[in-house]
């Protein structure tokens, strides 16, 4: 087994634990490279099937390429697809900086969707190496009745025994690729031939390393226009992945505040 095999095996184990122990589960599909890998891993874990609804919390501000990708692969992958809209900006915490406020719409949209469908668990493609606060996450990460993350008092998690039962009214975030890196995601995408949105590839000297809303996501300088070139670029770069995500950088604790409140 090589390193990618080991990561894949761990993720499959996590997804199967989630399916065995939780009743109403959904996958959050942000249309980016990470959640595409999660959907792919589901097909690996469940022998070609994705046995959970796939939820897109739509801010209405994604790139057209992302919507085209979504509509195509929701069909091709045979997904049980759900689209939910986010509430307007006015509904968010006005003390947050502007870009974080924009991102917070997603948190509210997610909470509304959870309430509407009664999901007990949500599978997300976040990774520890993306951001220092995400590095502290658990693989099975409980959220309290108000959807908040108690990051200062997380349950212990060891020996692959996850927290799989919960008090009523709470839900759990399941993070099957938490231990992967950006580079792992691309190497796996290349090995498996997972489809990719073309925005990730360099055009006119720039490419997107991370995809979010059009107005708060910016491309970074790059000439990487193939998977091989992206992998080579990441093996040498020291620019952080979320450099192009405005909401992370407005204030020192923006991201921490977003995540405590339930941001993914």
């Amino acid at each position: 087994m090589d390193h990618l095999d080991a990561l894949e095996a761990e993720s499959i184990y996590i997804l199967r634990e989630a399916k065995a122990k939780l009743d109403r589960l959904a996958i959050l599909w942000s249309l980016g490279k990470d959640s595409n890998v999660v959907i792919w891993l589901c097909k690996k874990a469940f022998f070609g099937h994705v046995p959970f609804p796939v939820l897109h919390i739509d801010t209405g501000k994604k790139f057209p390429e992302m919507y085209a990708f979504r509509d195509r692969y929701a069909k091709e992958w045979g997904l049980s697809f759900i689209r939910e809209e986010c509430p307007p900006l006015e509904a968010t915490d006005p003390t947050l900086p502007p870009a974080a406020r924009s991102a917070a719409r997603k948190t509210l949209g997610l909470k509304a969707a959870l309430a509407k469908y009664g999901f007990e668990g949500l599978i997300l493609g976040i990774r520890r190496d993306e951001e220092a606060i995400r590095a502290k996450e658990r693989i099975f990460s409980p959220r309290d009745e108000s959807g908040q993350w108690q990051l200062k008092d997380q349950p212990p998690e060891f020996w692959d025994h996850f927290m799989t039962s919960f008090p009523k009214g709470t839900h759990v975030r399941v993070h099957p690729i938490l231990n992967w890196t950006e580079l792992d995601v691309w190497k796996y995408t290349r090995r498996e031939g997972i489809p990719v949105i073309e925005l990730y590839f360099a055009k006119d000297g720039k490419r997107y390393r991370s995809l979010g809303d059009q107005d708060i996501t910016f491309p970074v300088p790059s000439t990487a226009d193939t998977l091989d070139a992206i992998i080579a670029e990441l093996e040498s770069t020291k620019i952080p992945e979320r450099a192009g995500r405005a909401m992370d950088h407005e204030a020192e604790d923006s991201f921490e505040r977003l995540r405590r409140a339930g941001y993914m």
Partner: protein, 621 residues
């Protein structure tokens, strides 16, 4: 190490007492190896300035606002860096006592550990506690960093004193550190190269120590274990899913599921989006299989080869660490999670409770938060498991209370038998032949019912004395009665058995069956054996079917030891007899015996009178 794995980051945990400089060490190591992301150092420096705080290397790691405000790491985090040899995953664990659960969360993922100690303060409470926990978590590759050498004038003497003190503590745990390195994390001494400020130190730099840690090998050569995670019905295939925790598997292998004891052959190994269907699988892989027979298997069972199955038991010993806010106490129920199975267990005994900071014994009534200990756990149903030393993945477990994991433990079966042989029904093709003479007819002719008086109790409690006296009395009163004891059983029927826990269990199984035959023949069979295990007595009860009476011949261990009619206790105390009940092997007293005969309170006459009354009442027609 094979080249294919060279790209795998080695997970290393950094542990130690609060403020001894773990995060500072990691921050500086990242800087020294050129691993900080672009702009990170500048951003953190600017932020420190804004707050009017002096810059600390730890700030590049402590991500939470409250971590930076308080200068304390609250939860574990992970950082990657690369040496010339290979990539690393650095797990920074909090050193504050309050956050021990987070330390465990971080450390359990590691394959090696660096334990940081302040040269000024020397080893403190959490230094020792973390050392102990590393050991319990199964991390054997450990190095010690004696930090803040700049604050002790780079003194070789001070280093020697701190190093020797902690080396002695680790030796008590059975841990031999790979190296003890004097460093100054703040100044960067001895991290990636030898510091000119400590010419007296000839050992390796931290980076050299890291590069010398081996990868943990996947247990491919241990016996096959695949805990069943789930069973899926997809596209007309019934797929059993699970991860191979150890061993290897091939299509066509005959496999056994425990504890249900069902067998079948592997028909296919299923996989999606692979060039061709796999013919074999090895430890570490998450797989799916189909079987050649439609046997019923469910989540929680362990699949193995027939020749090397897991143990079956409903009681075991464990070394545990406790994180729960409420202490672990005798009689408490917890949810046990072991591989993919879950079961309710009760704490039957606490044999030891240990303050891990001082390696000091605590009163064995409870195991408080952040302490460790040795306990006996009993489950209502039979579990398939392994001893930790023979298979860590299926020999360790987590205890859960109120949804939260509160403890972890490793299993030992010392003094307890494997119940597999006793539970496996080999002669399943026999049909019982109905006797022409009924039990009732025999009882009518004898004037009393047949049955079993099952005496159980410690050696020296008076079982044989009572059994023989009772036999004499009952015989005189016209009862058909016979005593089964070591003298007439061990010499013949069980001549092939020794005194290991398994052999003792088999001995009792045979006595149970023979007693049942005597009872069926209309006799009162009095069996006089220590029979220390509840599960064995339960089987004897099931063999007898009806009219089984468990008689607890009760005397305190101290009383029995004082009586010591055969001098056995003395020899056991000297270690001359292994697995001696009450001394080096457990005695599980009956929970609901039909009768208790307290031989340390009543004289022989009174005991016999009590027994005679009981028999008259329950056996006479």
């Amino acid at each position: 190490m094979p080249h294919a794995l060279a790209a795998r980051p080695l997970p290393i945990v950094i542990v130690g007492h609060v403020d001894h400089g773990k995060s500072t060490f990691v921050g500086r190591l990242l800087y020294e190896t050129g691993s900080l992301p672009e702009g990170k150092l500048e951003a953190v420096k600017a932020s420190s300035e804004r707050r009017g705080m002096p810059f600390e290397w730890a700030f590049v790691l402590d991500a939470m606002q409250s971590e930076r405000d308080q200068g304390v790491t609250i939860d574990t985090t992970q950082i990657r860096f690369r040496s010339k040899l290979r990539p690393y995953l650095i797990i920074d664990a909090p050193g504050h006592k309050e956050f021990l659960k987070n330390m465990v969360t971080g450390a359990a993922k590691a394959e090696a550990a660096l334990l940081v100690i302040d040269a000024q303060e020397g080893a403190q409470e959490q230094s020792r506690r973390h050392g102990y926990l590393l050991h319990l978590l199964g991390i054997r590759e450990v190095a010690v960093l004696v930090n803040k050498m700049d604050l002790v004038g780079y003194s070789a003497e001070r280093f020697g004193a701190v190093a020797e003190d902690f080396r002695a503590y680790l030796a008590d745990l059975g841990v031999e550190p790979k190296a003890i390195v004097p460093i100054s994390a703040r100044e960067g001494d001895n991290l990636t190269r030898h510091s000119p400020r400590m010419p007296w130190y000839q050992g390796p730099s931290v980076l050299e120590v890291l590069d010398s840690f081996p990868y943990a090998a996947l247990p491919v050569d241990r016996p096959l274990r695949m805990p069943v995670q789930d069973v899926y019905k997809f596209d007309q295939r019934r797929i059993i899913a699970g991860r191979l925790e150890s061993g290897r598997l091939q299509v066509g292998d005959r496999v056994l599921f425990s504890p249900s004891n069902k067998t079948a052959r592997i028909k296919t190994i299923e996989a999606w989006h692979v060039p061709e269907p796999p013919a074999e699988a090895v430890a570490g892989q998450s797989i799916g299989i189909t079987l050649d027979e439609p046997i019923f298997v469910e989540r929680g069972e362990i699949m193995s080869h027939e020749s090397d199955p897991p143990l079956l038991t409903n009681v075991f010993k464990a070394r545990i660490f406790w994180l729960g806010e409420r202490p672990l106490v005798i009689g408490a129920n917890y949810k046990l999670k072991l591989a993919t199975t879950e079961a309710t267990v009760v704490v039957e005994a606490i044999e030891k409770a240990i303050d891990t900071a001082e390696l000091r014994p605590l009163p064995p009534e409870a195991i408080p938060r952040n302490a460790a200990g040795e306990v006996v756990l009993r489950s209502k149903r039979i579990l398939a498991l392994d001893e930790y030393r023979s298979n860590p993945r299926t020999g360790r477990f987590v205890l859960v209370e109120d949804f939260i994991p509160v403890g972890g433990g490793t299993i030992s079966m010392e003094g307890y038998p494997d119940q597999r042989q006793l539970l496996t029904v080999r002669a399943s093709n026999l049909t019982a032949v109905g006797h022409a003479v009924s039990r009732a007819a025999r009882a009518a002719r004898n004037g009393h019912k047949g049955g079993v008086l099952w005496f159980t109790g410690l050696s020296g409690a008076g079982k044989s004395t009572l059994a023989l006296a009772l036999e004499r009395e009952l015989f005189a009163k016209g009862y058909h009665v016979y005593v089964l004891d070591g003298d007439n059983i061990r010499g013949g029927l069980c001549r092939d058995l020794g005194f290991s826990p398994e052999d003792r269990a088999e001995n009792i199984r045979r006595v149970g069956e023979v007693a049942a035959l005597f009872a069926d023949a209309g006799f009162i069979a009095i069996s006089s054996f220590i029979s220390p295990y509840r599960s064995d007595r339960q089987r004897a009860r099931e063999a007898a079917g009806e009219n089984f009476h468990e008689i607890y011949v009760k005397a305190d261990l101290a009383v029995c030891e004082q009586r010591d009619p055969k001098g056995l206790y003395k020899r056991a105390r000297k270690g001359e007899i292994k697995d001696f009940t009450g001394i080096s092997a457990p005695y599980e007293p009956p929970e609901n015996p039909e009768l208790v005969v307290p031989t340390d309170e009543l004289g022989l006459e009174d005991c016999i009178a009590l027994l005679l009354r009981y028999v008259e009442e329950h056996f006479r027609l």
